[in-house]
């Protein structure tokens, strides 16, 4: 959908798993959810998180694919592996810094979130972001996000030396510009 972007805010997630149930209803992979959902550590906390594919500008999954089976469209959507090409090697599953792709053992094919291509290509919102009761997954205009939320969106992530820019946005505190998960990103040594 033109003018709409996907925003993820795990701090809003209530763990209801509506996104997973709705993802199963998608026309292209009916019966199988492509959502990545975690109870962070249920014995310790109620915190949960639901993710979709971040749809990287330069997707690691495609870079490491020996069969050239993973394609990114002009719209920025990184698709599931092409069935005739995918050799089921799981390189993408291991390499994705976000841990998104899933190997469908039965089909011997990597499948992942394609941001509801069948819906977004005809002017509908992705299923998960439409139903999400807490709007932890949200598909709205940048204006709406800027107007509504305390946090701000970023789509720049550092994983050690790897900088990843994505189509999907993560909501972060107002004074943060990028998400860094590796301690190296916070060290002085090795900086250019």
């Amino acid at each position: 959908m033109f003018g709409y972007e996907f925003y993820i805010d795990p701090s809003r997630c209530i763990g209801c798993q509506s996104c997973m149930k709705a993802c199963e209803e998608c026309e292209t992979h009916r019966g199988t959810s492509m959502i990545n959902f975690d109870f962070i550590d249920r014995p310790e906390t109620i915190a949960t998180a639901a993710y979709v594919c971040f749809h990287c500008e330069d997707p690691t999954c495609a870079q490491v694919c020996p069969a050239d089976a993973i394609k990114k469209g002009l719209d920025g959507i990184v698709q599931s592996a092409l069935e005739p090409r995918c050799i089921g090697c799981s390189n993408c599953v291991l390499a994705c810094p976000f841990g998104i792709p899933k190997m469908q053992v039965k089909q011997e094919q990597m499948m992942k979130c394609d941001m509801c291509y069948d819906r977004t290509s005809v002017g509908k919102k992705p299923m998960c972001a439409t139903v999400c009761p807490s709007q932890a997954l949200s598909y709205v205009t940048p204006e709406e996000i800027a107007r509504g939320r305390r946090e701000k969106p970023t789509n720049v992530f550092y994983f050690g030396d790897q900088k990843v820019t994505t189509k999907v946005f993560m909501m972060v505190p107002e004074d943060v510009d990028a998400v860094s998960v590796d301690v190296v990103d916070y060290m002085w040594e090795g900086r250019p």
Partner: protein, 726 residues
């Protein structure tokens, strides 16, 4: 003689619950991809009543599509809403009326089943009097069916005993709001929630039991609002709470009085509002004196500083909302608990303006509408008292009988089961109610059911309670019969008939009317469709508190729902009640109500040292008759677990997945443990959606609030022991 005809395992093999994972024809079936039409209607689960579009093909519901234009939920749905369509074409569905035999149940003709039902009810009444039979209804029925059932009990059967499963749900709130404000409804529409500066949530697991309300609370926080959560468990919304008060089960009243004490001590009350709009302040003010923060901390287990902070946050906010649900209401002092919360709002002037006020989160599908028009034992249509001579005259005129012919108030839901147990009520007709799972003290309920001389059930699946039936009349799912329901915020909305009942199953309304005809009362039940019932209900509610006269199906569709009261066709409806602080009492004043303390009916002691509290999980609804048959929802929470803190688990040497026997003064059950740091160490929690040996209600007790007659589900005393396995 109403024991199950054969062992319940055999009934379960035949009638389920069997979880269905795929739509009719399977996931990949071409037919499930191309609907003939989309039907704009509402979810059948819970009082939020989210808008949803059902995909229909060949008289089957084959999927759903979000309905983004419906203003309450804008397309949002919880997992129950997403998967609700899987009830269509379900293998467990009852397709014929069933008659009990020695070998189980056999399909019967409608003539035989209705004839038998009417004959048995009449025989019992002829022999033992009109009140020897009772009717059970449910708050998931449409308002038309609720109205019809109330009229059926009073006009066709002439019994005073009709009550419904809403008695297990909302009644403490209603019983508190009515004397305070003259009406039983949430004072605010949900669109007010994001406008509050402080939202106080007391005893409401919003994220799991009213998931869409989460988005309203998060939007409130987005614009800087603060969230205070009061609960013995850190429920999922607590992750973003600005203040969390881990109240000891059964002590909410003490905590709320403690907050009032601090507000009055520090002069934070709204003197002007109190003087202009309220009565009874002085008495309540005096009663708050003994609740000093130190003693309140002792009794509630909440630190005094946290109580001070909560009181100050609430009182200093320009607009504060206080939300509550069953956690506040399921107590032997449920009414006083709700009154204490209302008192807090009145003392701080939080009423009758945008973004403030007390509000109840109704739990059941038609929890609001189902309690307004006559299936409550003491109420006539329009939320009018059955003991009010003027209301009786009005309704008798609409019904075409004399006021004398309307019975007086009867017993409430739990009391009806107790009267069955005593042998006073010998015949029971039940619809939309699974008391064997949902009433407290399930062993007692089973004994009572076994004593019934006649038990008739109208249902779409064979519930555990229906195992005891003499006749089961195959009724309709929500999407198989048109009608209206009223959502938690007081919005009257339109349920569409998307498909016809399958097989020989029939619409509930037609079944009830046919029994009435067989009883010789057909002239009072001339309806051929729900619309005719609604037209009569509009008239019967006219002039009542819950006035629906100005509401029509067409207006609801055009205006995306209409908030009652709506007394005339040109009236816009009333989203927010009490504008300017004016209540619906004749004098316009709101009442502070006294809130004396009472102990729990099942107190913790040395033998039973741990608090047991029960509730719901996000993927199941009420007694589970529907959701335990939907595969995706069963997968998410397949079996009940006993939730406990590691400190408590350590005392009995239990880790997650170990089996634990929970024993109360009634009975014991054995479940697997979930050891989590998100519950008080003196409390365990068990969800109640399951029957038999997994049923939390084997453990609960029948103590009722003396006025609302709600059971005290939220406090039982128990002890725990590690079990080998089951």
């Amino acid at each position: 003689m109403a024991q199950p005809p054969v062992p319940v395992d055999r009934l379960a093999d035949q009638y389920g619950p069997h979880p269905s994972h795929t739509p009719v024809g399977g996931w990949s079936h071409e037919a499930t991809h191309a609907p003939d039409r989309l039907v704009k209607t509402h979810c059948c689960f819970c009082g939020q009543q989210c808008g949803i579009q059902l995909k229909v093909r060949n008289n089957q519901v084959i999927g759903f599509e979000p309905w983004e234009d419906f203003p309450f939920n804008n397309g949002m749905l919880c997992p129950k809403g997403v998967k609700r369509y899987l009830q269509s074409g379900h293998p467990d569905r009852l397709l014929d009326p069933l008659m009990r035999t020695d070998a189980g149940f056999r399909p019967a003709s409608w003539d035989e089943a209705i004839g038998f039902t009417a004959r048995r009810l009449r025989e019992i009444q002829d022999k033992h009097g009109k009140d020897a039979v009772a009717v059970y209804g449910g708050a998931s029925l449409t308002t038309e069916k609720s109205y019809l059932l109330g009229k059926f009990a009073r006009v066709a059967l002439g019994t005073r005993h009709i009550d419904y499963n809403g008695r297990l749900c909302m009644v403490s709130a209603g019983t508190a709001y009515k004397p305070a404000f003259g009406v039983d409804r949430s004072p605010i529409p949900w669109s007010d929630i994001p406008k509050a500066d402080v939202v106080l949530v007391v005893g409401a697991n919003v994220a799991e039991c009213a998931p869409i309300t989460t988005s309203y609370i998060w939007r409130c926080r987005d614009r800087g609002g603060k969230l205070i959560v009061v609960d013995p468990r850190m429920t999922p919304i607590t992750r973003n709470a600005d203040l969390y008060l881990p109240v000891r089960p059964g002590t909410d009243l003490v905590l709320l009085m403690g907050m009032l004490h601090i507000i009055l001590r520090d002069g934070l009350e709204d003197r002007k509002f109190i003087a202009e709009h309220t009565l009874g302040f002085d008495e309540v003010s005096a009663s708050a004196k003994p609740y000093d923060p130190h003693s309140v901390a002792e009794r509630t287990g909440v630190p005094a500083e946290a109580i001070e902070r909560a009181a100050h946050m609430f009182a200093k906010a320009d607009r504060a909302i206080a939300m509550h649900a069953r956690g506040l209401e399921h107590h032997s002092k449920g009414v006083e608990n709700c009154s204490a919360l209302i008192n807090l709002c009145l003392a701080t002037g939080n009423l009758g303006r945008e973004g403030c006020g007390p509000t109840m989160i109704t739990g059941q599908g038609n929890g609001q509408g189902g309690r307004e028009h006559g299936q409550k034992c003491d109420q006539l249509p329009g939320q009018r008292s059955i003991s009010d001579p003027a209301a009786r005259e009005d309704v008798a005129r609409v019904w075409g009988i004399t006021a004398d012919e309307i019975p007086q108030a009867g017993l409430t839901a739990v009391e009806i089961m107790e009267a069955v147990h005593r042998g006073e009520i010998r015949g029971l007709l039940s619809i939309c109610f699974n008391p064997l799972v949902s009433l407290p003290d399930a062993g007692f309920t089973r004994e009572a059911l076994e004593k019934l001389e006649f038990f008739g059930v109208i249902d779409f699946f064979l519930s555990e309670t229906a195992h005891h039936a003499d006749v089961v009349l195959a009724g309709s799912l929500q999407e198989e019969e048109e009608g209206v329901v009223t959502s938690a915020e007081g919005r009257v909305i339109h349920i569409q008939q998307a498909v016809d009942p399958p097989g020989r199953a029939r619409r509930d309304g037609d079944i009830i009317c046919d029994i009435a005809r067989k009883l010789g009362k057909g002239k009072f039940f001339p309806y051929t469709n729900p619309r005719e019932i609604f037209e009569e209900l509009r008239e019967a509610s006219r002039g009542g508190v819950a006035d629906y006269f100005g509401i029509t199906y067409e207006r609801i569709d055009r205006e995306m729902g209409v908030f009652w009261p709506c007394p005339s066709l040109d009236h816009p409806g009333t989203p927010r009640l009490f504008d300017g602080g004016i209540s619906m009492h004749p004098d316009g004043k709101c009442r502070f109500l006294p809130t004396p303390w009472r102990e729990s009916g099942d107190p913790v002691d040395a033998d039973f040292p741990v608090y047991l509290t029960t509730g719901r999980v996000v993927s199941h609804y009420l007694s589970g008759t529907q959701t335990r048959r939907i595969g995706g929802l069963v997968d998410q929470y397949p079996e009940p677990r006993v939730e406990m803190h590691p400190r408590l688990a350590g005392t009995i040497g239990v880790a997650t997945d170990d089996w634990v026997t929970i024993t109360t003064r009634r009975r014991a059950i054995t479940l697997q443990a979930s050891v989590v740091k998100t519950i008080r160490p003196d409390t365990v929690f068990i969800p109640y959606h399951w029957p038999g040996g997994r049923s939390a209600n084997q453990l609960t007790h029948r103590t009722l609030d003396p006025r609302s007659k709600i059971p005290e589900y939220k406090v039982s005393a128990c002890r725990l022991a590690k079990a080998d396995s089951t």
